[in-house]
Symmetry: C2
Subunit: 201 residues, 2 copies
């Protein structure tokens, strides 16, 4: 970063933005840097997992854009526009508040679901034979790379823990409803959450 | 069931098999009945959600097949074969032991993930903009029908509660690892669960 020229744009694409924005806050070349988080990718990693047109139509979250010099903002926008990305501006605190719930928590719920099933099913053929598309979909993120996700959870530790507490609380409440045979509420819990249908069209 | 003829095959396609098998155990026409559970379908319900070739290549679990008269077993196999289904025989107890983990638990983990995110995200546009394919996949089952799933959870209540306890325990352990900054174990937990890649090819 110290050696980049005036016209050089440096941007990252990591899943956490707060730590990098804080680390670089007072850097003399801060205005050459743009903090980005493209919401794109799959559970697979490495060169073999490359996908043509990966960013087309995907959201690119840009944090603290005002701290990047205007000329380099324009350079970045031209690039992202060519890639077909939708731009969303956000401060780095709002970013982790959203992404913790919409991305990081999903990965843990999926990893732990996979763990619970693998622990139970000694015979892997049973899992394969009985896994419908529902299980495959819910457990898909458990195929993700630990090398990528361990640092993400480390950097966003505090907020991931908080989201996990809320998730565990909701699961515990649902379990209590089952234990109390309160199936009217079991029904309502699911019906209320069905709103996700309208949100994720 | 009382009025079916000798040559008539009656089968169900429900997600729980133990209750129906017990209910019909001593029925005079028991040998006309076959307890089936085709592992197929989507999160959508109703006639508009019909899919051509839904059963093609899917697993059909048949419980207590020996209690169905041989002639009608053959009639059923001819039908399922025409539909392109893979047959898996199982007693009704093994069925719920497997399906509780591989299907029912997935639905609850997904519903409660959706609930946790919706509660947090007051602005639904934020969810939509920031939801990657990962979140969409993990929360997909939260679109499922409460009218279909409430009775399933009611009939399989005991085992669903047990699987939920194990799932909540695994999530709590993972949270503890984060709280104790034990990121080596956080890594190992994820790496061990990556085995799901080999199981669900």
């Amino acid at each position: 970063m110290n050696n980049v020229g005036e016209q050089t744009l440096v941007f990252d694409v990591g899943s956490t933005k707060n730590p990098i924005c804080e680390a670089i806050e007072n850097h003399p070349k801060r205005r050459n840097f743009m903090a980005c988080h493209p919401i794109a990718g799959t559970e697979f990693s490495g060169p073999k997992s490359a996908i043509k047109g990966l960013y087309d139509g995907k959201t690119n979250i840009i944090c603290e854009v005002e701290k990047t010099t205007f000329k380099l903002q324009k350079k970045a926008m031209d690039l992202f526009k060519k890639l077909g990305m939708r731009i969303r501006y956000m401060d780095s605190k709002s970013h982790y508040k959203h992404i913790t719930y919409v991305s990081h928590l999903s990965h843990i719920s999926s990893f732990m679901l996979g763990k619970t099933v693998i622990e139970k099913e000694k015979d892997e053929q049973d899992i394969f034979d009985m896994a419908g598309s529902g299980f495959e979909s819910t457990v898909r993120l458990a195929k993700s790379s630990p090398a990528m996700w361990t640092p993400i959870f480390k950097q966003n530790r505090k907020h991931v823990i908080k989201s996990l507490e809320e998730y565990i609380q909701n699961l515990t409440n649902f379990k209590d409803l089952l234990e109390n045979d309160n199936f009217e509420e079991v029904y309502n819990e699911m019906e209320n959450t069905n709103r996700i249908k309208e949100i994720l069209k």
